[in-house]
Every structure is written in structure tokens, then in C-alpha cells.
Symmetry: none
Subunit: 257 residues, 2 copies
DNA sequence: AAACACTTTCGTTTTCTTTCGTTTTCGCTT
DNA sequence: AAGCGAAAACGAAAGAAAACGAAAGTGTTT
């Protein structure tokens, strides 16, 4: 057993089981603890893993391994169902825009899981871009612009301008508020600017918003609800009168999942 | 048993069992260890295997493009030193462009480690963008464009066009080849396009290239070396005549680390 | 005799283990 | 919940065994 061989096997185990312990590696390879530690140290300097007490973990890239708000996100089940329903709208060969936010991210994940082919995804959503790059059959175009740490997305005028270069069949748009009178709203201007550009460069506008966003109004207005081709939301507590008001105001279709 | 014959048999065994040891080959062929080692050394220079202590392994599979994680591991020390030296050039308040590639990534990491403030980083390097977003005092502008899986970067005409919106004090540029006559070269046109745009939109051009790139020529030409303000490379095997030729051809400064 | 292939020899390097003192972690007590 | 102590893990250093590279020597072939 050569050193290189052993180190490759360590990486392989790490990929398979997500972690390795010094003790386990000692037993498996029949070498002493300092030897294992030396291997781990060598691999760490090459950034192929992260050492911990007692073993090692895969390298930390907080984005790829979202311990981020996605897990603690409100209503993870609803978001996933909305994402799956939205992904079903996409046909092979289409170009779609994916907005920032965890719900749009779920659309991307569902799209990759479907194994659809020939789809081009345009997105400012960083975790989504990273995830979809790996997916076969999906081309990813990243929207450039100022990277916003907490939103994990590119926002602002540069991002909005970038969208003038592309035209998509469909945009999957998130929003902080969806109200029949006020329209779609978000919490800041930079995001509103980008969303308006997305709407302007897509043939169909699909709004994905869980039930907590309906009838809410946030700070910055994006567009009236009349631009919305389809609204996908979860079933909970969507009043019939609210639904009627939205359809009256120009929403093309409301889908509950 | 001729030398050639023996070496073929070594390769055959390697294919069959995935590894060979010096001891095993000594026994099989009835020759001494130095002879076996000479055979292995000869086969290694022809890239038909990889030597290790005690034997040899098959060459790294060139069927697949090496994964990003694997490329990060090559010459980690040199890249890191180059990255640190490059990061020292940056002053607070500057705007810098960081190219794709692992060496440019190291510049970003070193920049974040310095804790420098008020710096704006413009990059198409996805891992770098993700890493620097977390760094306090650094604003990240992501260059939009088609996301390339293996390079972990945005490339192509969209990315090149995006750069027309920005002007930077400095660009840290990688290259597959740096040659006094031919200039800077890379392996594909999409990358060359972006690099030319980076050069056009930066006041100073700092090329970061480990010693294996010097005097090499790759497929797509980027620019003559006369655009280079500063070349940062590692100390190993940089001939004085080569250095003189580069300086003659218009390189402003060569820094060895 | 010259060229070539191989071996022998020897000093150096690499790899691994053992040992020991220090740090971290975790469970237990208060 | 906070503090304490034992056990585990860690890093560094020293030493032994194996492998390595280079150079000189041997034998065979042409």
C-alpha cells in the first residue's frame, strides 16, 4: 500500500460516508495514528479535506453544503412541493430564468432531478448556479452583478442590465408580498430592479410564493399582478375571495400544491 | 528478455492489477532493484505510469478533465506563495479583477486573509466569489456568463461583454503558456476572449503563472507579453536568458517568490 | 576493445513507528 | 449551568527500516 494509494482511499471514503475518523483509518490500513494524521495534514494543505478532532470532513464551502437558511427556512416541505410543481412546467429545450431565493432554488433542484435535457437556466441565484452546473443536460448562465452575501445572489443595476442580453421562455419569480391591489413587492430596491428586468425578458412569468406571502405587502414594488402568467402556492389558507381578487386583477392561473 | 520486453510486461501488470511494486517485479524478472527502478523511471518520463515509493501506479486518468479539487492540489505551495505575493500588491480602496483558475483563487484567499478593506473584487471565478463574499471589507462583483463546469468560472462572449461595464486598477491573470515570442496563451477561445477583455479594462496587468507555464505555448493566443506590467512566478528553473527575453519583449517586472 | 545491460555498493531520503508532553473534548459533580 | 478531571487526541521529536539515486564495477555481446 503506497502513500498515494492510501490518501486516495481516504478521499474516497470521505466522499462515500461524508466523514472519516483517525481510528477507523488506522484499523483499515494497519498504520499508526501519526501516520494517519500526517496523511490528513497533507490532504488538508491541498484543501481536499478539513481536519477535525478525531478525523476529517469534506472541505468547507458554505455554499455547497447549505447549513444556511435553507434548512431552517420556513416551510421546507411547502417550498419543495412548489418547486416540483414549477419544474413540471418546463419543456426540453426551453430557456428559463430562476430568481434569487430558496423557493426558486427548489425549482432548480427539482429541474435537475427530473433529468430534463437541453434546458438553459439563467440565474442570479448562486447556490442554484453551483448545483445546476453539475447537472447533465442543463446549461447555466450566471447573471453578473454585485454579490449579496445574505441573499446568495447577484443584485443591483449591473445584474438588471445583464438581463438585456437574454430572452427566456419563462421566469420563476419569488416575492416577499403578493397582493391583488399593490402587486408584487420585495424588501429592497436592488432586488426589485432585477426582478423587473427578469419580467421584461421572459415570455411567461411564474410567481412562486408560499401562502405566507399572499396578501402581504413589502417595501419595494416590482410590478402589478397583471404581469403574472401563473401563480404557484401551497394550499393552506388561501381564501376563495383572495383567489378571486387575484384572478380579477390579472393573474392568469393559480395553482395550489 | 530485452529491456523493451520487460517494460511492456510491467505496463501489462499495471493494467491488470492497478499497481506494481519494485519487489514483485524484481522477483518476477530476476533483476535487481536499480534495474526495476530504471525501468519505472523510463516509463514515467513517457507518462505511462506514476512512480511512488515502493512501486508505481497508473497515470492520472486523462480521459476525464481533472476535477477542480484535483487541480487545486497541484503545486499547492507554489500557488499559495504566488497568491500571497500578488495580494501584497493590492492597496485599500482598489478595484481588482481576478481571473479564473486556481492560482487566481489563491490571490483571492490571500487577499481575504490580509483583512484589507474597501477592496472591490471583480471575478468570473466561482469558488473565489463564494469565498470572498464572506470576507469583511471586500465587495464582490460576479462576472456573468456561461458557467463552465470544470473551470468553475463564467466564460464566453457574455462574460467578455460584461467587463465593458467595469474598469479596474489591476487584473490578476492566469495563463496556460507564457512565452516571450508568442505571448500569453490559453487552451480555449472562450477563456481567451474573457482574458482579453480583462486586460482591456484594467490599468495594470499582473500575470500569475507557476514555473511550469513559462516558455509554454497553448492553443489560443490572448495577448503579447508587452501588455504585462508584472509577472509573478516561482523561483524554480527560470533561466536567466528566459528572464532577459521576457523583459526584452516588454514585461515590466518579474517577481520570483 | 567498445558498447550495453545489469549488479553491487554506499550514502541519502523517505516512510513509518514509538515516545512523550500538551491540548482538546466530554462526562461527571456540584 | 458552570467547573473539574479523566480520557482521548494532538503535535513534535527521535529512531529504525525500507527504498532511493548515483557511481563504480562486472559480464556479455558485437
Amino acid at each position: 500500500m503506497f502513500v498515494e494509494e492510501r490518501q486516495q482511499r481516504i478521499l474516497q471514503r470521505l466522499r462515500e460516508q461524508g466523514k472519516v475518523t483517525v481510528e477507523e483509518l488506522m484499523g483499515d490500513f494497519g498504520v499508526s495514528a501519526p501516520t494517519v494524521r500526517a496523511d490528513l495534514a497533507a490532504l488538508e494543505t491541498r484543501r481536499l479535506l478539513r481536519r477535525t478532532h478525531g478525523g476529517a470532513l469534506p472541505p468547507a464551502t458554505s455554499l455547497y453544503e447549505p447549513t444556511y437558511a435553507e434548512r431552517v427556512g420556513t416551510q421546507p416541505g411547502e417550498k419543495r412541493r412548489i418547486g416540483k410543481a414549477a419544474a413540471r412546467l418546463v419543456r426540453p429545450g426551453e430557456t428559463v430564468i430562476l430568481d434569487a431565493g430558496t423557493t426558486a432554488h427548489e425549482v432548480g433542484v427539482a429541474l435537475a432531478a427530473r433529468g430534463i435535457s437541453g434546458v438553459t437556466v439563467v440565474t442570479n441565484n448562486l447556490p442554484t448556479a453551483v448545483a445546476l452546473m453539475e447537472a447533465p443536460g442543463i446549461e447555466v448562465i450566471v447573471i453578473g452583478g454585485l454579490a449579496h452575501l445574505h441573499r446568495r445572489a447577484m443584485l443591483g443595476p449591473l445584474a438588471a442590465d445583464f438581463l438585456h442580453r437574454v430572452h427566456a421562455d419563462r421566469v420563476f419569480l419569488g416575492a416577499n408580498g403578493v397582493d391583488a391591489q399593490v402587486g408584487l413587492t420585495v424588501v429592497d430596491f436592488d432586488a426589485a430592479l432585477v426582478k423587473r428586468a427578469m419580467i421584461a425578458h421572459a415570455a411567461e412569468v411564474v410567481v412562486i410564493a408560499d401562502s405566507t406571502k399572499i396578501c402581504q405587502v413589502a417595501f419595494a414594488q416590482v410590478a402589478p399582478v397583471s404581469v403574472v402568467t401563473c401563480l404557484i402556492t401551497d394550499d393552506a389558507s388561501l381564501d376563495e375571495s383572495v383567489e378571486a381578487a387575484l384572478l380579477d386583477a390579472g393573474v392568469g392561473l393559480i395553482e395550489r400544491v
